[in-house]
Symmetry: C2
């Protein structure tokens, strides 16, 4: 992995991140391809949205189709037919949010798989090993991620454990073949965040992720965490804000120096006809769109906007045609990727502040409805 | 509408059918786009399968999104973004198979709509009027379609009524703007079929459909009906076998002189991972395909076969990703359209018999499984 900063504007950085499966421009947004597919989209579709890199969920993939299948097919890239880079999570967050009958100890976590009730054990070594078997370009350390509302004591215990696990992950991952990112935890406490980062920095990671956010905190709370933490992070390593977020959240985080994002929002909301546009959200399920001949967004180059009216897409959603899942996901991802491209261009030309103000003004103007 | 026969081989005909929205080569297969979409496919997708013309279901469309929407959007072609020709059914068959609380009289049929329980009345004039509002290139007469197992008396009553309705449809449709096809009924009785056709012929239709089949009869029974009926039909009018069928059924019917087909089989079966190939059916849901690196069909140009392994498609089907619906439908439609293209080429070169024998031999060889 190589990471080059090409330009900066305030704390924001325009970068080029070179990975085993190609190089990407940062700041970048990664759609979530939980089970080896960005739901409803073919890899060819994903590429047409301007997506450069995707995220795969390690735990889901280890359960279905399982590592034996993906391994025999030559890894996740070959299995799903995605040629660009892939980042995989460690499975830690999914264990906390999805698994039943979970028991966590210093060595790792044991749980019952949500799919078939199988007993499954995840240790730092196993989490890293699975990601290597998947062939991900960026692997994440296994961490324990408590609620930011948890008592400070619990957060500290999780941090201490995450620190031990980070060491074991670093050792297990060795020199690659890809990159391993550490995850800074510590809730909303600047002091815990600093200590978490310093402990990780002593191990040395190719990049640093901000974990434990996007779980219900307010935007100002999240931004305060970024404001306190990011100045501590090394300039020459990519920074990844996990699980964030809404378009406005991305703009705010890019301004604060974040380079990588992932979130289910554009894909999940797309499937529910909740569409992002420059002038705000269009809830296409609303019957006001029944006769609306205009596209979701007039200047959007996605297939939904180029070929179809809101009225037709509203109808497809109403009858439950799977085509609507694909088209509306394509629109939302195209919107996200164009927003990121606009932010990158603004950093290059050093007018990010103006770009962010424009963004907010446009969003407030509200969606055009005929 | 113009219909030109370019070549014949036995009873089979290679034709060119020119309609308001372009011309198509016959024999041709029309996928079913019930609600203004071939399920899971974008019109661009549909075109890539080699599909020239699609079928729309009048009754479904009249209920959802309704004629007011489609009318204001400029007709069905504009609404759904399909540029090629569209044939619409009359709604008669759907009333019989789907509607509740149905009451039929000589003037028309009243029923409760399956979607919202609305009372809906379909008369010959209304069936034709709706199809004209949809802007279909080929409209079908309203007919009453009893089971071929019904007592002869019931079949005769339905025939007499269908005849009255055909007259009223012919009058209501006038000169177009498209073409109106009559539907020959009469079950499996050659005499009833002949009488049904003669009555229609006296009214004069742009084409003739064979109705009342594809509802459970055996292939030999259906082929006997075609063998008895088709020699009576005018050579210079297209012949449409409604609702048929499996690949082998299409081959048999093309050999007997049929020009147009529609069927839900490739699309519906595709969505259930039941895939057609030159060497027989692949039931992709079977776990034998879990590790199968080969494509569904090696020489198939569809995106599923070009980009993905059976193992990946098996996985997508298993996790229920909507992408599998699209990819597997694309494969099945591509298979059907390539089969039709092969039959057309065989008629042109007058080797249809050999082509049909090859087809059968290959099918019997069974799907290659690694």
């Amino acid at each position: 992995m190589r990471f080059e900063r090409l330009a900066t504007d305030g704390r924001a950085r325009l970068g080029c991140l070179a990975l085993g499966h190609g190089q990407i421009d940062t700041p970048a947004f990664m759609p979530v391809g939980t089970y080896g597919a960005v739901k409803a989209l073919d890899p060819t579709d994903v590429a047409t949205t301007g997506t450069q890199m995707i995220l795969g969920n390690t735990l889901h993939l280890a359960l279905r189709p399982g590592l034996e299948v993906i391994g025999r097919m030559g890894g996740l890239h070959a299995f799903m037919g995605w040629r660009g880079p892939i980042l995989t999570d460690s499975g830690g967050f999914q264990v906390m949010s999805l698994a039943h009958r979970r028991s966590i100890d210093d060595d790792g976590v044991t749980f019952q798989a949500p799919v078939d009730g199988r007993r499954f054990r995840l240790t730092p070594e196993r989490a890293v090993g699975i990601q290597q078997e998947l062939g991900s370009d960026i692997a994440m350390v296994l961490d324990q991620c408590p609620s930011y509302l948890a008592p400070r004591e619990e957060i500290e215990t999780a941090m201490r454990r995450s620190q031990l696990w980070a060491e074991r992950c670093r050792r297990a991952y060795g020199d690659g073949p890809g990159a391993l990112f550490g995850i800074v935890q510590g809730g909303v406490d600047p002091d815990l965040r600093r200590r978490s980062f310093e402990a990780l920095a002593s191990l040395g990671f190719e990049g640093y992720a901000v974990g434990g956010l996007a779980i219900g905190e307010s935007a100002p709370t999240r931004e305060a965490v970024l404001d306190a933490l990011i100045p501590l992070l090394p300039e020459d390593r990519p920074r990844y804000l996990m699980g964030v977020g809404k378009p406005a959240d991305l703009v705010a985080a890019v301004c604060r120096g974040i380079d990588l994002f992932d979130c289910v929002l554009p894909t999940r909301n797309g499937r529910n006809a909740h569409l992002f546009t420059a002038t705000g959200v269009v809830r296409l399920r609303n019957s006001r769109y029944r006769f609306d001949e205009s596209p979701i967004e007039p200047d959007c180059p996605c297939p939904a906007c180029r070929h179809h009216s809101r009225a037709y897409l509203h109808h497809l959603d109403r009858i439950g045609d799977p085509l609507s899942l694909r088209l509306l996901t394509l629109h939302n991802l195209t919107y996200y990727q164009r927003l990121l491209a606009r932010l990158r261009e603004a950093i290059r030309t050093r007018c990010l502040g103006e770009c962010a103000a424009d963004f907010e003004r446009q969003q407030r103007s509200g969606p055009a409805v005929r």
